[in-house]
């Protein structure tokens, strides 16, 4: 679905990612984990085509990002930014309908099929009851769920999500990650998610990309999610506890 070859990303003199060779296939659900400032968002923006690579390349379906027309690309991958600012008082439904933009070069108004898709997306994020609300009046978590619904309405085979669990309560964090895993499993979508919750990542992702200080490690979740690797990339000792057949990741308490 999407792959990087010898990808390098820099900010100023600092190297965030060094020679990243990485492939995400359809049906795979990846999680990116790393410390603050490790370059997770920069990498996701590069995957989305919103940032140029400093070296190397990113390709979707084998074709370099720069060679795709914007409109076609918009039907292939959707991107959820970490934060958003609402300058105007759009209604919830309008923000979700706007995500149908890439499909309608010819239409001036959306049609009933767009409405059906938008309402289904809102329902899947349990925000259908907010449909007429002004987005600026929503709570942080509600706004985040509406944004994810808009992303689902864009209906692309590749989903790039920057900390989608931000501001969500525990129940919605779990149901969101389950939804993403299900979309990958049942519809063959590919998802790349940035997160900070190790247990959630372990429960819902197939594969993991760890990154920090220019280095990276990628692979199936159980191969990469080891105590030494996590401790190294997160800069804090991590312990793995097995409880009722589940692996649980806990930070080691300093006995100072």
């Amino acid at each position: 679905m999407i792959s990087t070859r010898a990808l390098c990303l820099k900010i100023g003199q600092r190297t965030l990612v060094e020679r990243l060779d990485w492939t995400v296939n359809g049906g795979e659900c990846w999680c990116i984990i790393g410390r603050n400032g490790a370059g997770k968002t920069t990498l996701l923006r590069a995957l989305a085509g919103m940032r140029e690579a400093d070296a190397g390349s990113v390709a979707i379906k084998g074709r370099p990002l720069a060679d795709w027309p914007l409109a076609q690309l918009a039907r292939l991958r959707a991107y959820l930014p970490q934060a958003r600012s609402d300058a105007f008082s759009y209604r919830v439904l309008e923000t979700v309908l706007a995500a149908r933009h890439p499909y309608h070069a010819q239409r001036y108004w959306e049609d009933s099929d767009d409405h059906a898709i938008a309402m289904a997306a809102l329902a899947s994020m349990e925000v259908a009851h907010l449909v007429r609300r002004d987005v600026r009046s929503l709570s942080g978590g509600e706004r985040q769920r509406v944004a994810i619904a808009a992303m689902l309405a864009q209906d692309t085979p590749l989903l790039l999500l920057d900390e989608p669990a931000n501001a969500l309560d525990l129940a919605h964090q779990v149901s969101l990650m389950r939804l993403i895993a299900r979309l990958c499993r049942e519809q063959g979508k590919a998802a790349v998610t940035i997160g900070h919750d190790l247990n959630l990542a372990h429960a819902c992702s197939h594969a993991l990309l760890l990154m920090g200080d220019g280095g990276w490690q990628a692979g199936p979740i159980d191969d990469v999610m080891t105590a030494p690797a996590l401790s190294r990339y997160l800069g804090h000792p991590i312990e793995i506890v097995v409880h009722g057949g589940r692996r649980i990741f806990v930070p080691v308490q300093d006995d100072a």
């Binding site: 989305a48 085509g49 919103m50 914007l70 409109a71 076609q72 690309l73 918009a74 039907r75 991958r77 959707a78 991107y79 930014p81 958003r84 600012s85 609402d86 300058a87 105007f88 008082s89 759009y90 209604r91 439904l93 309008e94 923000t95 706007a98 995500a99 933009h101 890439p102 309608h104 001036y108 108004w109 959306e110 449909v131 007429r132 002004d134 600026r136 009046s137 864009q154």
Partner: protein, 341 residues
């Protein structure tokens, strides 16, 4: 307020039709009202005389004068309002107006210089247009990366906005300088130009062409404008060419503003409160907002000009005074509502 499950097409058609009727009615009203009032039958007769070519009766002459002034008011108000919507979308700030980037201040420098040097009317207009274009070009050069949507675009186009504010205040310093050295006899004309005055503004074809061109662009990119207003830089991931669209918005609102201030001086508040009021009443969807704000802006300025002509008759006020007197309290009220929300 907004009924979503009714067809948006029907809603748009109804609203736009009502506004077209109101616009025509405001033009008719401005033909009837004045130092000599014309009744409806007189208006009808005079209109027929005008259409058939011979404006020989007094009524027909009056109507011609009033209508041409009202038409200038309409095209100016429509252009300012449309430019306001575009500028607000470009800066992603509902409190922006067509003048915030200093394009009108540049026009003021040009126009006042021509007035100071006793230029003919066409020279004043040409100088105003030249000043506006000069400031727009400086802005473009200084903030090109920001207009095209670099990293700063996500944070609300701050470089562009700040550059515009600084250029604007530099121009205003030049304006103050010219006002302070101007001889007494020319001061009144200069001040009136600054406030914005429709008296003696000639009816020309060019502003209509500019408005029509801008309207075509606006309607073609209305959907993309919604995406841009919602997502800023991330609009690119929905297939919107952010850089090109922002450049086009900047160019289009700049030309509209230059064309409006050239024919009538810098009339304030129209480009701010009309888009604001329309957004408040009909929602922020640009597909409806753009035509609605254009029609409402034109109608608003025609009505404001009727007040300017009649409020202290026989004395004529500059129309900018009326728009500011209506606009300032209205805007404060809106601001208050915004804080409560």
């Amino acid at each position: 307020m907004q009924q979503f499950f009714r067809d948006p097409r029907q809603r748009a058609i109804v609203i736009v039709s009502v506004l077209v009727v109101l616009a025509v009615a405001s033009l008719g009203l401005s033909g009837m009202i004045g130092s000599v009032a014309l009744s409806l039958p007189e208006l009808h007769g005079a209109l027929r005389a005008l259409v058939h070519g011979g404006a020989d009766s007094m009524a027909a002459t009056l109507l011609e004068l009033r209508l041409s002034r009202a038409m200038v008011a309409f095209v100016t108000g429509a252009a300012l309002s449309l430019a306001g919507v575009m500028m607000q979308a470009l800066l992603r700030n509902p409190l922006a107006d067509p003048y915030v980037l200093g394009i009108s201040a540049g026009a003021s420098v040009g126009a006042l210089l021509a007035l100071l040097l006793m230029g003919a009317l066409w020279m004043v207009d040409a100088a105003a247009f030249g000043g506006a274009v000069a400031v727009a070009m400086m802005l473009y050069v200084l903030a090109r990366r920001d207009i095209a949507g670099g990293a700063a675009a996500a944070g609300g186009a701050s470089v562009l906005l700040l550059t515009g504010v600084i250029l604007s205040s530099a121009c205003m310093a030049l304006v103050t300088l010219m006002l302070s050295i101007a001889p007494e006899s020319r001061l009144r004309g200069m001040v009136f130009w600054m406030i914005g005055d429709l008296a003696g503004a000639p009816l020309r074809g060019l502003p209509w062409l500019v408005l029509a061109g801008a309207m075509v662009f606006a309607l073609r990119s209305a959907r993309a404008l919604n995406v841009l207003a919602l997502h800023a830089e991330s609009a690119a991931t929905l297939g919107v060419p952010v850089g090109a669209l922002r450049k086009a918005l900047f160019f289009c609102s700049g030309v509209l503003t230059a064309s409006a201030v050239t024919s009538a001086g810098s009339i304030g508040f129209v480009g701010l409160i009309v888009p604001h009021a329309c957004r408040f009443a009909f929602g922020p969807d640009h597909r409806l907002l753009l035509p609605v704000a254009t029609l409402a802006g034109g109608t608003f300025l025609v009505l404001a000009d009727i007040l300017a002509r009649t409020l202290l008759a026989p004395q004529q006020l500059p129309v900018g005074v009326v728009t500011a007197l209506i606009g300032a309290p209205f805007f404060l009220y809106q601001l208050h509502q915004l804080r409560r929300a």
